[in-house]
């Protein structure tokens, strides 16, 4: 294992902001994925995003058999936004603190520094995805036991596919954040622009896609659309379906979404590497 990767991991592990964001992601995924639906079920029906759902449907969505789609439902937009903030913080803070010049005057080449930084982000995102799945599994099992239902777990293949998809989606968003950090060299600008893009612009484009043909074609290439489509292809309901969550869409097919997201990951990493290679670090 390279020293610069170990250095990046040490920084991430000791960084309070990363713990806060991780806790936020875990808490939100539990609250909106399990706690509120379960309380809604106990209260006798759905409202808001879960409007029209019967108590039986609400319960079915949070049992172990629906672990993968229920967990992934929040990934394209909400968890993605947190991943984007993580990526932006990791790169942009180095400019803000001036620590990038400290790093670049040590030993590793610039490209190695960036590759190891992105690998560390990917590692952290993987740990987060695993933690979300693990907590969700505990919740769904606890609910099944409480309600006297069978714990029908998804197959290992399904689970692996879900974890992989979650890693790809959050990895892509975190890389977008990291690239924005490298391009703008400012945490606030990178986070602000990234969130506006992820939470507002993509939703607006998807909202108007039905009106204009070119917007429909454009939205099919957007990172959020493809993240949402990948999640939908794994069983998460789209926004206009029963129990759907914002950001989940069936605008493109699952395989296409997979390849587009992989393309985004590669392109974002490449641009970040090339940019840092050419930058004057002042």
């Amino acid at each position: 294992m390279r020293g610069s990767y170990r250095a990046e991991m040490l920084k991430l592990v000791r960084w309070p902001a990363m713990w806060v964001l991780s806790a936020l992601l875990l808490v939100l995924s539990q609250v909106f994925g399990y706690l509120i639906p379960y309380v809604g079920y106990r209260a006798g029906g759905g409202s808001g995003f879960a409007a029209g759902e019967t108590p039986a449907q609400l319960l079915a969505d949070i049992l172990p058999g629906r672990l993968v789609p229920n967990t992934l439902g929040g990934f394209p937009m909400f968890a993605g936004a947190i991943a984007l903030i993580i990526g932006a913080l990791v790169t942009a803070s180095e400019y803000g603190w001036g620590t990038l010049k400290t790093i670049l005057t040590q030993r590793p080449r610039r490209l190695v520094v960036m590759v190891d930084k992105l690998l560390a982000i990917a590692t952290m995102v993987l740990v987060l995805v695993l933690a979300v799945f693990a907590l969700d599994a505990v919740w769904s099992w606890a609910i099944a036991m409480t309600e006297g239902r069978a714990a029908d777990w998804p197959s290992v293949f399904e689970l692996g596919r879900g974890i992989g998809a979650g890693w790809l989606i959050l990895g892509m968003w975190s890389l977008l954040g990291a690239l924005l950090g490298v391009l703008f060299r400012s945490t606030s600008l990178a986070v602000g622009l990234g969130l506006v893009w992820a939470l507002a612009i993509e939703s607006l484009v998807r909202g108007f896609a039905g009106l204009l043909g070119f917007l429909d074609a454009f939205q099919q290439g957007l990172p959020g659309t493809n993240a949402g489509s990948l999640v939908a292809s794994l069983g998460a309901p789209t926004l206009d379906q029963r129990g759907g969550t914002p950001g989940v869409t069936d605008a493109v097919s699952g395989p296409q979404a997979l390849f587009v997201l992989i393309g985004y990951v590669m392109a974002l990493a490449l641009i970040a590497g090339l940019t840092i290679q050419r930058q004057d670090v002042t």
Binding site: A7, K11, W15, W97, G98, T102, R107, V281
Partner: protein, 306 residues
């Protein structure tokens, strides 16, 4: 090509920001291996930009630089160069020790040199405190400790005594002298001319991006002059001009300033007394580096930093 014995060698090194802002202008600098070299210049003279180019942080617009025989930023060479440019830039949420641990991992060194580096700058007891809880002086010292972790052949320090109290500055001067006493080369950029005068073997003065003077400190300071306070002043001046020549005497604040070897003081005193002139003071005036700097750059020493 690097000149033999040079740790740093630049040839017409130039950096232009945008289209018109020339930060460094055809700089030719040579720092010999094993010396402590003082790099002086007023605000905006191009010192920090030069240091950044030498470390590969900023790319030169034209010209070349060689650092330990290689192009700036060359990976294997960076492992032999310790640097602190501008403020010590470390992670605010990490302790001093963890900051050094991070640096050690980048460098590829084991952690067992960390306590020695902390000890060298007097931070061993405070190594567990967070960097953002450190005073400015402690941050400076930790920055130096980070630069020392590699046991570097070349140490580049930019204003290392910034924020230090007088005792801390004295400690830092001692540390720099110690560091530069062996084979190690030290390039010290500082606005504290007294500090440079005490610590450095040679000095380069940069102004408007170009090197305007370079040499040993005593060479730059020159031989000094003689100050004479005597009555009547006009008679004293006439007498001294006869001895030294008119071009060597100047009246300044009611005294005579003689451009002469300070060793001539007693002879001049005797001549004046023998001529019946009342001499109240004759003393050597040695130029400080600050005087030299002011003459060369025309800058207020209080203003010049980077």
């Amino acid at each position: 090509m690097s000149r033999a014995g040079s740790a740093i060698d630049t040839s017409d090194l130039t950096k232009v920001y945008g289209k018109h802002l020339t930060a460094v202008d055809r700089l030719n600098l040579s720092v010999r291996r094993g010396e402590v070299y003082g790099f002086l210049g007023p605000n905006g003279a191009g010192k920090t930009t030069t240091l950044r180019m030498l470390l590969g942080l900023v790319r030169a617009t034209s010209g070349t630089a060689r650092v330990l025989g290689e192009a700036p930023g060359y990976s294997e060479n960076l492992a032999r160069v310790g640097a602190m440019v501008e403020e010590p830039a470390l992670y605010p949420y990490l302790s001093g020790r963890d900051n050094l641990r991070v640096i050690a991992r980048y460098v590829g060194r084991p952690d067992d040199g960390i306590d020695a580096a902390l000890d060298a700058v007097g931070l061993l007891q405070r190594g567990g405190d967070r960097f953002n809880a450190y005073s400015q002086g402690m941050r400076q010292r930790l920055g130096v400790a980070a630069a020392l972790l590699k046991d570097p052949e070349l140490l580049i320090l930019d204003e290392p005594t910034n924020g230090l109290d007088p005792a801390g500055m004295a400690d830092m001067r001692t540390l720099i002298r110690t560091l530069g006493s062996g084979d190690r080369t030290v390039l010290l950029s500082s606005h504290l001319l007294g500090e440079v005068q005490q610590v450095c073997d040679r000095v380069g003065v940069i102004s408007h991006g170009a090197l305007i003077a370079e040499g040993r400190v005593d060479e730059l300071r020159g031989r000094g002059s003689i100050l004479v306070r005597a009555e009547p002043l006009a008679a004293a001046r006439e007498r001294v001009e006869r001895l030294l020549g008119a071009g060597h005497v100047e009246v300044l604040d009611g005294t005579l300033r003689l451009d002469s070897d300070p060793a001539d003081s007693s002879r001049i005193n005797r001549e004046l007394v023998l001529a019946g002139i009342a001499v109240s003071e004759v003393r050597r005036v040695e130029r400080t580096l600050e005087d030299v700097f002011l003459e060369l750059t025309g800058e207020d020493p209080g203003d010049h930093a980077r």
